[in-house]
Amino acid sequence: MAVFGTLYGAAARHVLGVPLTLLSSVLVYSGALQFAMVAMLGAGAATLPLLLIAGVLNLRHLVLGAALRSRFESGPLRRAALAFFLVDETFGFAVAAGTAVEPAAVGRTTERTLLVAGLHLYVAWLVGTLVGVLGGGLTAVEGVAGAIFPVLFIGLASLAATRRSHVVRAVAAAALTAAVAVWLPGLRMLAPVIAGVLVALPGREP
């Protein structure tokens, strides 16, 4: 997490400036969204595509949150506080920890794991961002900045592709985006949102 925070800080400081780069990691705490945001801004995206990508990329939290909610025992205020730490990685840790204990301890263990893992990863993300923003000897990173985003998003796509049908949808989304880039360049930065939704809709299989 700290390594990716460093990459983010190094890449984002040239696009967002130092204060907004740090603020983004403090407030948003979502690596995938923050990298997407910086990549889109770097390509000239305006506010609307940024808000749309935030809305659509964050939809997955509805599923993660719903899956965790049935395991939680505390009241709405504590759940609202814990929700800030709900990211893909902490979800995995919390579910795994809750599954490994007696039924009576599931709620307490799941909540504690989400909090502890969330705090650790949050601090690592912030420290990484700070190191990246401060330079951290990352002039080499700046030299390869153009390659960081495609590589990172290919990696994230490979992580998210848990089924063969996901790979097919990923290829279709990439083809659709390329077609938009060639024939409708003005809509290029809206293409990820449009392609993401269009490609996800058809079919009944998971």
């Binding site: 979502s30 390509a43 990508i53 935030a54 929700a83 800030f84 989304a173 930065m189 996800a200």
Partner: protein, 96 residues
């Protein structure tokens, strides 16, 4: 980007996390299935969008090599091999 836009994005992000944990019922199975398909499509789409310039212009050979190396390593389904594949591809692209 303005600070207001950033704060709005942060609020959207937090709201999406808190909505299901605090307020909403579990989504229907059909909706849940569609939601689960969105990230992979968006990430693939973002990879393409950041790779191609306006008009579909291809990037420099090292960037293209990095993407190819990352794609070759992607069946490992782990970020580290993909990053290493990308680095090797980038280095290979420097010779073209």
């Amino acid at each position: 980007m303005s600070a207001l836009t950033l704060v709005t994005i942060a609020l959207i992000t937090y709201a999406s996390r808190a909505a299901a944990v605090v307020l909403l019922p579990r989504p229907s199975a059909r909706f849940e299935t569609v939601l689960s398909r969105i990230p992979v499509a968006i990430f693939a789409s973002l990879a393409t969008a950041t790779l191609l310039g306006a008009g579909g212009a291809l990037p420099a050979p090292p960037v293209l090599g990095a993407a190819a190396g990352a794609l070759l390593a992607s069946p490992a389904r782990s970020l580290l091999p993909v990053l290493i594949g990308g680095a090797i591809g980038y280095a290979a692209g420097l010779f073209f």
